[in-house]
Structure formats: C-alpha cells, structure tokens
C-alpha cells in the first residue's frame, strides 16, 4: 500500500484485527445489502445503513451538515476519532461514507482494504452484538463541494470538454443495453451514457480478493483511457456509490487533485428531459 499517493487512508484486515479495540478508533460497516451486518460483523463495529442513515430520506441528497453531525455524535465519533470504514461489494458504500466524511471535513477516516469480503474469507472473528456507542460531541466543517459535482457542472463539462467524465458502470449499462445492474430495478427512463464519457468500470480497480490494485496498475488502467489528472475528473455511475469508490481511487490512491463525484449520476441524467445521450461504445478519442 506504500506506493499509493495517500497510503494513510487504507488499512489492512490484519491492522484492523490488531487495533480494533484501541481507544479513539471507531469501526463502521456500511453495506449495499444492509442485512449483511446482522449476519456477523467485526466485533465492536457499528453498522450504518446507506439508505436511511447516509442520505436525506425526504429529498434526494446527501446528509445535511446537521444530520451528519448527529450521525457522528450518536455513533460515538468526535472530530479527532480515527474512523475505519468497511463494507460489502469491495467497499462500495464504505467509499460513499468516506466521501461524505471528507465533504464534512473529518480528518482521520480510513478504508479497510478488501472490505467485508476479505475479512470473511480470512476467517476472522465476527460478532452479532450491536455496540451501544457513548454519545460524542461533533462539529462538522462546512461542506467541501469541490468533492461533489452537480448537474450544471456536468453539463458544462460535457459541452466544453473541460473535465474528463468517467462512467464507472458496467459496459452493458454504459452502452444502454440495460438500464440498471442485472436484477435491480430500472431507475431511469433512458439508457446510455453522457456524451464524451469514458467507461472504466469501478471493479477494474480491484483484485479478486477485494483489495485495491497496485498504484502502477491503477495508473495504467486510467492512463490507457486518457485519465491522467491533467484536467478535472468527474466520476459517475447510477446513484453515486460506485463512483465514490472510483473517486476514492483517483483522489487518494492515485493522488489526482481535482476529482469530484457526480452523485446525481445516471438516475438524474437518464431521466432528464432533453438531455443528450450517447448509446453504444464510447467514441474513439472522445
């Protein structure tokens, strides 16, 4: 992990096994499938449900500053707590939580490399006990919106080619063959991708055991698609969680400065009246 631009944001399963009871560490599991936590989790880990605790449940949005502060405080997290995030699907929603924690300025948040999958595969200890954290005091920073892309910015980026658009969905979603991952509800009216976007599926950044590929492999993966950090990068997927995984890779493992996550993603763009859409494979040299 030492070659990454910011190796301090990753910890290994072994490190977590050794440090999970350290004072000032809170471990949080964030799964796509919120039932996974109840099957068994790292002893002492709290569980966050992405669909109720890591978003506004009324309007479509991430947590407000106030909601974020409440989640941190009720989870026993103060501003100087070291937070370790992990989850299923190679840390999809752990990355989503990481992204929000960085938006609100949390200093020391890290991801467990390999996530839940690696912890299970290694036969490490599990628990079904739900911790009851002691309430903490938390003061969030104002949101750092440089980490988040909104529709108008994406529209400008598409028109002026002022930012590289990285679509991290599967090739079948990118081409428009399917409207959602196989077996999941269709949440858009049209299939395809934002004109000019490159298709680099999120999973290409991972090894079979769920860990991140090496710095050199990641650099080559994105370089081969013209993504080298020389201009701003906007990552998107369907609802913003897969793209937060890629955002993490680009910003923290490769160290590109100007990377944002368009969490409106395809469920916003693919439902917009009159929005331009490309179908099929990406145009050569786009």
């Amino acid at each position: 992990m030492a070659d990454y631009a910011h190796p301090e944001v990753l910890v290994s399963t072994e490190w977590v096994a050794q440090h999970r009871t350290d004072p000032n560490i809170v471990i949080a599991e964030v799964d796509v499938d919120t039932a996974a936590y109840n099957e068994g989790h790292i002893p002492g880990a709290i569980g966050w449900a992405w669909n109720t605790q890591l978003c506004d449940t009324v309007r479509r949005d991430i947590l407000s500053k106030q909601q974020f502060e409440e989640l941190m405080a009720s989870s026993g997290i103060s501003n100087d707590t070291t937070v370790i995030l992990y989850g299923d699907n190679n840390n999809w929603f752990a990355a989503w939580a990481f992204w929000q924690m960085k938006i609100y300025g949390h200093k020391d948040v890290r991801i467990m490399n390999g996530g839940r999958k690696k912890w299970l595969a290694e036969g490490r200890e599990l628990s079904t006990e739900i911790p009851q954290p002691k309430r903490a005091t938390y003061k969030a920073s104002d949101p750092d919106l440089s980490l988040r892309a909104f529709l108008p910015q994406v529209q400008v980026a598409m028109k002026e080619r002022s930012a590289a658009l990285v679509d991290v969905r599967s090739p079948q979603e990118f081409t428009g063959e399917i409207l959602a991952p196989p077996g999941l509800p269709e949440t858009c009216q049209r299939g395809g991708h934002i004109p000019g976007a490159r298709n680099i599926p999120w999973g290409k950044a991972c090894n079979e055991d769920g860990t991140f590929k090496s710095y050199e492999e990641l650099k080559e993966l994105y370089r081969s698609e013209g993504i080298d950090g020389s201009k701003p990068i906007i990552a998107y997927c369907r609802i913003g969680e897969r793209s937060s995984h890629t955002w993490f890779v680009l910003k923290y493992l490769l160290g590109f400065n100007n990377v944002s996550n368009y969490d409106g993603s395809w469920t916003e763009w693919g439902n917009l009246v009159g929005a331009p859409i490309e179908r099929g494979a990406a145009a050569v040299g786009a």
Partner: protein, 73 residues
C-alpha cells in the same frame, strides 16, 4: 465466531453471470448471490446446509434477473 468453509463460485443464470459466495457461521450456512458486473447483491439467504442456502439464493436471483430487459443498442 467466524466465517468458515468460505467459498466463491461463478455460475450462469439465464445467460447472466452470477457469483455465489457461501460460508458457515456457527450452525448456519449463508449464501450471497451477486451479478458479476457490477457485483450488486441479488439475494442473501441462509440454510442448514450450503446446498440449501445456495438453492434459495439461486431461486431468488433467477426471479430478479428475469425482470431485466435488454434494449437494442
């Protein structure tokens, strides 16, 4: 407690590649079926044997995958 007998295998369900991940925690076998690309969970089941947990997961995954429409590109 810990996950034991951890196993992953790739199968096809109606032309869709699916990964089945199964393991035992205590006396219960758990199984997760996910679509290979992108890897989202389709079903999470349990049973007293691996076979039982897997069969339930496959049945549920088949039901969900049958709803996926392919568009002409």
């Amino acid at each position: 407690m810990r996950a034991e007998d951890y196993r992953e295998r790739r199968i096809q369900i109606d032309d869709w590649p699916v990964t089945l991940t199964s393991y035992r925690v205590g006396d219960v076998y758990h199984c997760k079926a996910d679509n290979v690309s992108p890897g989202a969970t389709l079903a999470r089941t349990s049973g007293v044997t691996r076979q039982q947990a897997e069969e339930k997961a496959i049945a549920r995954a088949r039901e969900l995958l049958a709803r996926t429409r392919r568009q002409p590109v």
